[in-house]
């Protein structure tokens, strides 16, 4: 019997039990769709997180949590001692400052930095300019604002040149940052005010020390070395004896990237686990139904054998049935998974990543499940003796 006829025969048999066929496939459908969905979401999350992390800045690191104050002298010393340092910026911040403008007000984060900070973070401007040397030296009240500050206070007009009241003081807006979007935590990157560190120190914080020092190197390969040298520098200047703990911390963008890698690897392992469990459960469902089907159709098998079906014909017929069930379940699951994935992505505004590979793999696996779990029932059918099958009531 040729394959086409066997296939038609199998389809007819499935068609006769439409409801059961559909229910049997549900295991596979759910399995495959959740796999497709989660691989997709995993990929999107990875990209989204990576994008956010790059806003931290490439090859960047920062010294923070220092028990002894970080000073302008530290900044100057590091800049002089470490030739691989490309950009360096002091960093002070205040979490909530009252910001008034355009007749409205909001609470924003305020950063005090120098112009290198924008290079370290790769934060470009949409309008206006960075600070001038004069403005930094003279602690002038100039501010570069994030996009949310603009939209909240000035709508979609160009805010450069407007006056902003920050913590009770009038500041001149000189620049507008390009929109960055929300962090995964929901934190708004764009609700930010950036002023010269000197201005922050003199006019707002009332202190001359920094919360952090941001540094970036020319290339990624210099990060580890730079971290070591920074540690050396601060241990020396903070006079920490050998064997004692650092009284400061250093974080790098590399660590964050590694974190993302770790998270996405963990996610992948988890996904593989979910995938194999759900496909296994789906497969057992198929095996179960196929066994029921074989025993229900024992007489049919006997009739087919009596009129000339060979063992292989029966085996293939039932295998095709189970593979059709699992393969069709795989296709439906794929479409369903892609649909749900697309919906979710649409609402959280992550990039949609179409992974052809995951689709091929999911389909291949669902068919393999059909063969694997369908083989035993099909073998059972094929091994029936014609006379016994015919006599079966």
């Amino acid at each position: 019997m040729n394959f086409k006829n066997l296939f038609i025969t199998a389809l007819r048999a499935l068609n006769r039990n439409k409801m059961r066929s559909a229910l049997t496939s549900i295991g596979i459908i759910i399995g495959v769709s959740s796999v497709i969905m989660m691989i997709g979401i995993g990929n999107s999350a990875r990209i989204a997180v990576r994008e956010k992390i790059f806003t931290y800045g490439a090859n960047a690191m920062s010294v923070y949590d220092s028990k002894k104050p970080l000073t302008l002298r530290d900044v100057e010393n590091i800049d002089r001692l470490l030739p691989q340092v490309r950009y360096i910026s002091p960093f002070v911040y205040k979490s909530y400052v009252l910001t008034k403008g355009g007749g409205q007000f909001i609470y924003s984060r305020l950063y005090g930095v120098n112009n290198d900070f924008f290079k370290i973070k790769s934060w470009p401007l949409t309008n206006g300019r960075y600070f001038t040397e004069r403005e930094i030296a003279a602690s002038e009240k100039v501010v570069i604002i994030g996009n949310s500050v603009r939209t909240e206070l000035f709508g979609y007009t160009n805010p450069v040149g407007e006056v902003l009241n920050v913590d009770g003081l009038p500041f001149k807006i000189v620049g507008l940052l390009t929109e960055m979007g929300q962090a995964l935590s929901g934190r708004d990157f764009d609700n930010v005010l950036i002023v010269p560190h000197t201005t922050a120190a003199m006019k707002i914080m009332g202190k001359r020390t920094f919360d952090e020092i941001y540094v970036s190197t020319y290339s990624e390969t210099e990060i580890d070395e730079t971290v070591e040298q920074l540690k050396e520098y601060f241990r020396r200047t903070h006079v920490i004896l050998p064997g004692k703990m650092n009284d400061f911390k250093i974080k790098t963008s590399k660590e964050k990237l590694q974190m993302v890698k770790y998270i996405s690897n963990t996610l992948s392992i988890l996904l593989a686990g979910i995938a194999s469990i759900s496909l296994f459960v789906g497969g057992v469902g198929i095996m179960n139904i196929m066994l029921v089907s074989v025993s229900e159709r024992t007489r049919e098998i006997g009739i087919r054998m009596a009129i000339g079906a060979k063992r292989r014909d029966i085996l293939t017929q039932f295998l095709i049935e189970s593979v059709t069930l699992s393969g069709a379940g795989g296709i439906v699951g794929m479409l369903l998974g892609l649909g749900v994935y697309y919906l979710i992505i649409f609402f959280v505004d992550w990039p949609f990543i179409f992974s052809f590979f995951s689709i091929i793999v999911a389909f291949f696996f669902s068919c393999a499940v059909g063969i694997f779990f369908g083989y035993y029932p099909a073998r059972k059918a094929a091994d029936l003796k014609p006379i016994e099958a015919l006599r079966y009531e």
């Binding site: 006829n5 009129i307 000339g308 079906a309 014609p386 006379i387 015919l390």
Partner: protein
């Protein structure tokens, strides 16, 4: 060309029931049947008729003994070779019709061709249609067995037995589930298949009137043949067109 289509000698079939008990369903049966014969096999219930037919049809194997069909020794055949012979040389008609339910008449009739290979879907349908027409069910091709009467179902089964143009038809109590009228129709059909198409027919029955349509009567008792004789006053039969 072998003259005897069927050659049986000293056939035994023993069913082991437990270690001590076994059923001796056939106890040394020998028989020859020529091409074109129309044989009825009779005997009380449990006398071994079905066992015998199943062995003749390669559905079952004898415990010992020799069975040659059309020059082929059954003991030399493996499982798939037997399937092939059932498919090409033999047609079966059963008491319980044994049609596939929820499958149309024409699809039931096509079934043997499906396993034959080397034949197009178109040819299959044409052949199935031809034999359905021949047994008087033209126009009922797409009815399912549940929509047909017992007599009609048995005729679909006969069309299925004919569609592979077999040398021999084995029918185990084909009229056992039918009323007198349908029994007559079916027996007329068998008679004309034997006369007009020259198909050898072996038919099990316990009804003497049915046996009277055949040319030769073989009687079983307790796994032995106790009588083998020509039928003297055969029923006059002719295929009625409807």
């Amino acid at each position: 060309m072998v003259n005897n289509l069927i050659e049986i000698s000293d056939l035994y079939k023993i069913y082991p029931i437990s270690e001590e008990i076994s059923v001796h369903a056939l106890q040394g049966v020998s028989l020859s049947i020529k091409r074109g014969e129309f044989v009825s096999i009779m005997g009380a219930s449990g006398s071994g008729k079905s066992t015998f037919m199943n062995i003749l049809g390669f559905l079952d194997t004898p415990t010992t003994g020799r069975y040659v069909l059309d020059g082929i020794d059954g003991s030399t055949l493996n499982y798939d070779e037997k399937a092939e012979i059932r498919n090409r040389k033999i047609g079966f008609v059963f008491q319980g019709f044994n049609l596939l339910s929820r499958t149309s008449a024409i699809e039931n009739v096509e079934l043997p061709l499906l396993y034959m290979g080397g034949i197009t879907t178109r040819e299959m349908q044409d052949k199935a249609r031809k034999y359905l027409g021949m047994i008087g069910l033209a126009g009922r091709e797409h009815h399912h067995p549940s929509e047909l009467s017992g007599g009609e179902q048995q005729r679909v089964a006969i069309a299925r037995a004919l569609v592979n143009e077999p040398a021999i038809i084995f029918a185990d109590e084909p009229t056992g589930n039918l009323d007198t009228k349908n029994t007559e129709d079916i027996m007329n059909l068998f008679t004309s298949l034997n006369q007009d198409l020259g198909i050898t027919i072996i038919l099990v029955t316990h009804e003497p009137e049915v046996a009277e349509y055949t040319k030769r009567k073989v009687i079983f008792r307790d796994g032995h043949i106790i009588e083998d004789s020509p039928v003297k006053k055969r029923k006059k039969a002719g295929m009625k067109k409807r």
